[in-house]
Structures are given as C-alpha cells and as structure tokens.
C-alpha cells in the first residue's frame, strides 16, 4: 500500500511545477489566455493611459499580426468607453514569420502584449471611477484554428495628479515597447525597385551597419510579396540590400511597398521600422 502511494508526491510536484506557466488552459480548449492590463494606476483629466492586451498562448499555438500573411486573422478590439474617452489603434509589435508547409503567416507565439493608448477628456471629476470595456476577438492556430472572444474590463480611478505607473505590470509594458516598430530615422535613405518577379529595397543609414546581421520585410498588405519565399539580405558598410519575391497575384500597377523593415542586430534583438517605399522599375 505504502509503495503504491509513492508516485503521488511526484505527480503533485509535477503539477505544481507546470501550474504557474499556463494556469488557465486546463479549464478549456481555448489555448490562449487574455488579460487587459493598465500601465498606470489611475487616469488624469485630459491625460492618457496605455493599456495592454496580454495574450499568452499554449506551446505551439500562435495568433496573428495586422497582416496575417497567407492565412489567419488579426485580433480585433471593440471598445465601449465612457463619454469623451477615445482609444487609439493597436500598436502592433514586430511579428515573426511562421512557416506552414509551403506557406507563411505573420504572428506571435508564446506571449505578446498589444498596446493601445487611451485618451481621457478634460472634464472629469477626480475621485470617480471609470470603466473601460473592450470586446476582443482572436483566431488562435496550431495545426487547427480556433476563434475566440472575451469581454474585458478595466476600472481606473480619476485622480488630479499625474498617474503613477503600476509596477505589477511594468515588465509586460517594457517588453512590449521593446518590440514596437519605430518611425524610420530622417537621415536614413531607403529606395525600392522591382523587376518582373522580385522587389528590392536598399537602405543607406549613413553609418556602419556592422551590428546588423540580417534584415526582413513584412508587408502591410496581402498579395504583394510571396510570404514564404526566402528573403536575401546583404549588408556592406552603410548599406543594406534586401531582395524578396513578388507574389504571383501582385498587381502590375503596384506603386509602393508599405510595411515593416526589420533589422536584426547582434545581441540587441530585432528593430522594426515602418516604411512606405515608392517603387522604380528595374
């Protein structure tokens, strides 16, 4: 009897060890856990706060970028806000390319936080509470895809003083901001061209790109580039050349390429820059 009970502590230990990672997944087959977090503890009249939709996916599952690539669906948010409040667009973090057979999607694995700025009206009474309500919908895929949705609420007190930061979630916001795309620096020169089957981007940063190891382009619109094809980058001195294949469905009237140019740096991770490059014919 004693002998037969022995494995139990081991099982309990394993349960205990695995529990902190994905506590909610055992309750259903949703494969993703979503929370709405606020960067600040309160909101000022006329001020703004940044909120974050934190998605944690089960291992092997992914959600999507603004342009999902060959398949999938970007998450969407519908707000119900008190009078005078406005929500900005989702600040899309730099995505990953996710290959699937001979196709490729753009999205996120493990965990990701989508930041949204919220602006408060000037006329607010300090001491009151405001309720920010959002309905978020997503599609989470592994081999199969499952649509999901959740209603999320955030209650924040209105205070006259500048809103203090919520240290509890600081890590999530810091990590999210690290991979937010930036505007391309003004002194960088980027040109684009296209041939019958391919696009080329050429970037001159005016300073040695010695730290940059690879580059990739993520198109904001579908049917422009072949998402699954290898992109070829060449870095020399101040210049980066990037070549990638056109989609067979690309319109011959395409005038510019809009999307994210992502530079990967040694020991510094990925940096994404929003670009909208006019195209010359080769």
């Amino acid at each position: 009897m004693k002998f037969r009970l022995k494995p139990a502590p081991l099982v309990l230990l394993l349960l205990f060890l695995s529990a902190p990672f994905y506590p909610a997944f055992s309750q259903g087959a949703s494969h993703v856990k979503v929370e709405l977090l606020s960067e600040q503890n309160s909101i000022q009249p006329g001020g703004s706060v940044t909120v974050g939709f934190h998605f944690r996916m089960q291992k092997g599952w992914h959600i999507y970028w603004k342009n999902p690539g060959d398949s999938g669906q970007a998450p969407s948010i519908t707000w119900t806000l008190p009078e005078g409040f406005t929500a900005g667009e989702i600040l899309w973090p730099v995505p990953q390319r996710l290959p699937l057979a001979h196709l490729a999607d753009y999205g996120y694995t493990n965990e990701i936080t989508f930041l949204v700025p919220i602006q408060a009206p000037a006329k607010l009474i300090a001491g009151h509470m405001v309720r920010l309500a959002a309905t978020v919908h997503w599609l989470v895929c592994q081999e199969i895809c499952i649509p999901g949705g959740k209603q999320l609420n955030l209650r924040l007190p209105i205070r006259k003083k500048a809103a203090p930061y919520n240290s509890r979630y600081a890590f999530y916001f810091k990590s999210a901001r690290k991979i937010l795309p930036q505007e391309i620096p003004e002194d960088w020169k980027i040109t684009g061209s296209m041939g019958p089957k391919e696009f080329h981007l050429s970037l001159d940063t005016g300073a040695a790109l010695s730290k940059t190891t690879t580059a990739a382009f993520f198109p904001l619109h579908g049917n422009q580039i072949q998402n699954s094809a290898n992109q070829i980058s060449e870095i020399e001195g101040n210049t980066l050349n990037l070549g990638f294949k056109k989609s067979d469905q690309c319109s011959p009237e395409i005038k510019n390429l809009e999307g994210l140019l992502v530079l990967e740096q040694k020991n510094a991770g990925k940096r994404g820059y929003w670009v909208n490059v006019p195209l010359n014919n080769n």
């Binding site: 969407s76 001979h102 081999e143 649509p147 067979d248």
Partner: protein, 207 residues
C-alpha cells in the same frame, strides 16, 4: 556594380530557385486531373465551354463553417442551376484537419445540403500546390476558354469570432465570387471588375 551583382544573384535565385506554376489571373488556368468522391476522374481541359468554380474546403475550419450556415450552399445552388460547374477541393493531408475519405465527404456534403458538381479529393495537395491555394475557403473562377478570371477570397468579411462576420469599417459588404459570377455569367462580361483579392481563412493543411 556591387548592387548590380546583388540584383543578379537575387534574380537568379528567384527565377531558377523556385519554378512557379501557380495560377495567374488572365492566363490559362493550370490543367489538372482530379478524382472526385464518387471515384470519377475529371480533367480540367475537358471542361471547356463552362465556367468552373474551385472552392478550397476544410469542413472543420471555422471560416468554412461560418459560410456553410447556408450562404455558401445558396450561392452554389444559384450558379450550378445556371450551368456553372462548382467543385470543392479538399487538400488536407491524411490525419490533418479536414481530411476525409470519399464516403465521409459524400455524407458531409449531403448533411450540409451542399450544391456541388463534385468534391475533389486532393490529399497529396497536388492541385492545391499547382493553384497555390492558401486558405479555406480560397476561391478560383475559370472561364469557358480555360482562362483563370478570379483568384482570391470569397468576400470582404473575414470572420471575427464564431458568429460575427465583419468588413473593414466603412466598407460595404461584397461577395467577390457572387459579383464575379453575376458579371461573367449573367452580364456576359469578359472579366470581372475585381479579379484578384487576398484570400483569408485557415491555412490549407498540406502534408
């Protein structure tokens, strides 16, 4: 000079590294031979003289499910009655989502009251890869001369959750396939006003 060399290298890689036979709007649709769920063989080249619709299908994909609440069947019925040949193509690999044997394919389509000319079983993904079918549902229309005239999404309202289908804010709803068939078949136009869109949905579960 260096830039020219780089252009040359990438051009070489793209042109010779990946030969592409994918379906292109405005040119003859690639030919194929398909086995349907009743064991019959169909060759695209033998179907000249009729409009052909190819609908990439996966019965368990939420996007497909949302269309099969009646809209897809109604669209099929309307155009099949007017002489259009409408084929569902299942390119899911064995054991992948949406893979079905012939008998089950027939049962499923009967249960859902689909109005299809036939269901093509493509478990090796041969037709899928030839057409570069990316999603379910990814739609193609081939005209009576065998030219591909539409390649893309079924409509502009991707699914946002299990129930609600939405267009982008301010965009009126368009079923691209219905509009194209209306223009091509009913109005006898040579080309649809919209011939290429980005397909949406689940990825095709290729091997």
């Amino acid at each position: 000079m260096k830039r020219l060399v780089f252009l040359g290298i990438t051009l070489g890689v793209f042109c010779f590294g990946s030969l592409s036979y994918a379906a292109k709007v405005g040119v003859p649709a690639p030919d194929f031979t398909a086995s349907d769920s009743h064991g019959k063989t169909h060759k695209l080249a033998d179907l000249r003289g009729k409009f052909v619709v190819l609908e990439w299908h996966n019965k368990d994909c939420p996007f497909v499910k949302s269309h099969y609440r009646g809209k897809m069947q109604n669209l099929q019925e309307k155009w099949v009655k007017k002489g259009v040949l409408w084929f569902a193509v299942i390119s899911s690999a064995p054991r992948a989502e949406g893979y079905v044997e012939a008998t089950q394919a027939n049962e499923d389509m009967k249960k859902r009251n689909a109005h299809l000319t036939a269901v093509f079983l493509d478990p090796r993904g041969t037709i899928g890869r030839t057409y570069d079918a990316k999603t379910t549902p990814h739609m193609f229309i081939i005209d009576p001369k065998g030219v591909l005239v539409y390649n893309g999404a079924i409509d502009n309202a991707p699914l946002t959750d299990g129930a609600v289908k939405k267009t982008k804010e301010g965009e009126p709803f368009v079923n691209y396939v219905e509009r194209a068939l209306q223009e091509l078949v009913a109005e006898k136009k040579a080309k649809p006003s919209i011939s290429s869109t980005t397909p949406y949905g689940c990825h095709v579960k290729y091997k």
